[in-house]
């Protein structure tokens, strides 16, 4: 088979993994990486799973590779922080079957809590890195990565960015090539990293880097496109496309294999052009390295360290050419909001009404932090809410805990919330934890997780029981409420806040987008009864506004009839639609 199809970078990575004969995939979702595992799960030949977090996913992939097959693990950039421990050691042990780690960075933070530059990880873990620039390269580079991985006995780091992951371009697809199962060989001198072994393995890693550097000089993944000798650009990833667009005359050294750097190739390229630039997003990694060799190159004096680099910046900074465009119009921002009918809205309304302190976590429910709910004081990373609340109690005393709640989603609880609960029990905290169980991993687009009853292939799976886990960890007070029932939710929160021991409230109701049967005809305002008091607007529902007479108004094309506003109206002015 050979034909051209329009694929996103993520779909192309999945296709590349399929063609490369990958057998095992483990992943935890995270924008912009999520569609890679989702698409790999569609192939019968690949075992694909959702792991509870990135560390487990990494360990599974290492196990599979050492077990003799080609394996893959994918995650968003911050996921690598979670997976770093096994990653670093796998660099020492090496692999058996090929292992590729896909890290999807998010310059510009379209959907992330930071814009860390994960190119550091390849340097830090001393493993090779490849960076595709479009969907075709996503597919081709994955295959190449497995060859490199097996040839040099190393995990390979594939660094993507949002614009590569989520842009579609034409791709030529081929058939799958099955790989033979490699023998499983017990070798303690390689895989059992006790100090005596690890010391030897470190030397192996250093030697491997030297060999990889040689490879970097020779591979066609690093190629020179010689053009005018006036301007030379070193570039990798999607920025290559922007450079082609902005500077059609320039000579380009395109780095597809971007760690270790091909020093000789760069030196020769530098010598062949008059002005040398490096176009890179975020940190000046290539720039610093090249400058350290005594080569004159400019980069960060032209391009920002924060946010994305765009074509027009390259055009302006290097060609001195500015496209004419209209002035930007002032338009009110449109930040994301909890969806109409979102089950998280009820609990946040309660927390907002009680004016408690809230330590937050990451998921759709992070939007509870936004006005008018303002029901979150801090967000750090996945799983942090519970430790944060515990730490605040230890800092400010048990009284503080009577006005403080930690909120965490079901998927996030599975990811890294459980150890926080264990800590709270063991170290005798009074914290109150709300687990917002909407039966799915919603933020990243509805992936199953250990609590949902289905696996990554959509097949039925055992349900890991949240209540049971909390009780087994030693939490005695565990209650479940329906967050659509404001009164019951309010009562539960008040009870648990004053309890002199750790307690858990599970607010359970499926995501409205998951279970559309919950959607009902739009509610409407009885204008006779409405006084325009604005109480119904306190829950931050995007469907409610005011009409020209200052009375409430419900948008009938977006309201899904959840009925939350009806519970808030003191005048009985909100009625069910037919």
């Amino acid at each position: 088979m050979m034909s051209k199809v329009l694929l996103t970078g993520n779909e192309a990575v999945a296709r590349g993994a399929y063609e490369a004969g990958v057998k095992v995939l483990s992943a935890y979702p995270g924008t912009p990486s999520t569609e890679i595992p989702e698409n790999m799960a569609k192939y019968d030949e690949i075992y694909a799973e959702w792991a509870p977090n990135e560390k487990v996913a990494m360990e599974v992939a290492i196990g599979a590779a050492v077990g003799g097959v080609r394996s893959m693990v994918t995650m968003k950039h911050v996921g690598v922080n979670v997976a770093a421990d096994p990653l670093f050691t796998s660099s020492y042990t090496g692999i058996n079957g090929g292992l590729v780690i896909v890290s999807a960075d998010d310059p510009g933070m379209h959907s992330s809590q930071d814009e860390q530059d994960n190119r550091y990880y390849a340097r830090f873990a001393k493993i090779p890195m490849i960076e595709p620039a479009d969907s075709q390269e996503c597919l081709d580079f994955v295959k190449e990565a497995y060859e490199i991985s097996e040839k040099f006995d190393t995990p390979v780091f594939m660094r993507m960015t949002t614009r590569v992951c989520h842009s579609q371009s034409l791709v030529e697809v081929h058939d799958r090539k099955e790989q033979e199962l490699k023998p499983y060989v017990k070798d303690a001198s390689k895989y059992v990293v006790m100090p005596a072994v690890a010391r030897k393995r470190h030397a192996v890693v250093e030697q491997r880097l030297l060999e990889l550097q040689k490879f970097s000089e020779e591979t066609s993944l690093n190629r020179v496109e010689m053009n005018s000798k006036e301007v030379g650009i070193i570039v990798s990833g999607v920025l290559y496309q922007y450079v082609k667009e902005a500077l059609p005359e320039a000579s380009i050294l395109k780095l597809g294999f971007s760690w270790p750097l091909p020093r000789k190739k760069i030196e020769a390229f530098a010598a062949s052009v008059k002005d040398l630039y490096v176009v890179e997003e975020l940190d000046p990694l290539i720039e610093q390295e090249v400058k350290s060799w005594g080569i004159a190159i400019s980069g960060k004096e032209h391009f920002p360290r924060c946010g994305e680099v765009f074509t027009e910046m390259i055009r302006q900074e290097i060609a001195g050419d500015c496209l004419q465009c209209k002035e930007e119009s002032a338009a009110v921002g449109r930040p994301p909001v909890l969806c109409p009918g979102c089950p998280h809205r009820g609990i946040f309304y309660v927390l907002s009404k009680l004016k408690v302190n809230v330590t937050g976590d990451i998921g759709c429910y992070s939007l509870g932090a936004t006005p008018p709910l303002n029901a979150m004081d801090i967000i750090i990373c996945m799983g942090a809410s519970i430790g944060l609340a515990h730490g605040m109690e230890k800092a400010r005393g048990k009284e503080f805990s009577k006005h403080t709640v930690a909120v965490i989603g079901d998927s996030t609880f599975m990811h890294s919330g459980i150890t926080g609960i264990i800590n709270a029990v063991y170290n005798q905290s009074n914290i109150t934890v709300v687990i917002m169980d909407n039966r799915i991993t919603a933020m990243t687009g509805h992936q199953d997780n250990p609590t949902t009853g289905f696996n990554a292939k959509g097949e039925p799976a055992p349900i890991v029981d949240i209540e049971g886990i909390c009780r087994a960890c030693g939490v005695k007070r565990v209650q479940v409420v329906d967050p659509a029932d404001i009164e019951a939710t309010m009562k539960a929160v008040k009870e648990e806040l004053v309890a002199e021991e750790p307690s858990v409230i599970i607010t359970r109701r499926p995501c409205i987008l998951l279970d559309k049967k919950q959607m009902k005809p739009a509610f409407y305002i009885n204008k006779e009864k409405c006084t325009g008091c604005g109480m119904c607007m306190k829950s931050g529902c995007p469907c409610i506004g005011k009409d020209e007479n200052g009375k409430a108004e419900i948008n009938d094309s977006t309201c899904v009839g959840c009925g939350l506003c009806m519970q808030l109206c003191p005048f009985g002015a909100i009625e069910k639609g037919e």
Binding site: T34, H110, Q168, L170, Q241, V332, P336, C339, P371, N555
Partner: protein, 192 residues
């Protein structure tokens, strides 16, 4: 020559299906195509944009400000937000629908009264209509995206047949007739 089309709207409005249809139509002309869309947080009711580019050879998947040949806006404030992406003589198609962003709901900001006037004063080629009601007349609010595509198709040099084939392929059978009617309604709206 590369054609640049920007599709803008509010997360959840169906911009993704519209861009899928448009890019498949572009693809069937045998040209190079690149499409860029952002997934994630902004899909929860935030401002969303999809960029479609096609021509002999397309490098970047991203459109530069001031270079869009066409903008198709699912909501009028979003049209205003992205207006400066339009070329001097570009065409903008605006769905006359108002969706209040949260700062307007909470009263800290005002939805400008004169959005359409501003758009008209800043662009030469403007087409404004109510796609939601046109879609409702065809049988479903959800087909507003295809009404807009119907109008867009009138400014592109691609046979009607190609559009119909792609829509037939991408829309579930159950909703096909509604969407074909919606497409025709959109075409008709350009003639008023």
């Amino acid at each position: 020559m590369v054609k640049n089309i920007l599709i803008v709207g509010v997360g959840g409005q169906g911009t993704i299906l519209a861009s899928r249809i448009l890019s498949q139509v572009a693809l069937s002309t045998g040209q190079d195509v690149k499409v860029s869309e952002i997934h994630g947080m902004s899909q929860r009711g935030g401002s969303v944009v999809t960029q479609v580019r096609f021509g002999d050879k397309v490098y970047s998947p991203i459109i530069e400000p001031g270079t869009a040949d066409m903008i198709m806006a699912f909501e009028k404030l979003e049209a205003l937000r992205w207006l400066h992406w339009l070329k001097e003589d570009g065409q903008i198609i605006v769905n006359d629908q108002k969706m209040n962003p949260m700062p307007v709901v909470t009263g800290v900001a005002k939805y400008p009264d004169d959005v359409l006037e501003q758009i008209r004063s800043k662009c030469k080629n403007v087409l404004i209509f109510d796609a939601l009601h046109a879609a409702r007349d065809c049988g479903s609010d959800k087909a507003a995206n295809v009404v807009l595509l119907g109008a867009l198709s009138k400014y592109m040099n691609i046979d009607r047949e190609t559009w119909i084939t792609v829509i037939t392929k991408l829309v579930p059978q159950k909703f096909l007739q509604v969407n074909l009617d919606a497409f025709a309604a959109g075409e008709a709206l350009t003639e008023k």
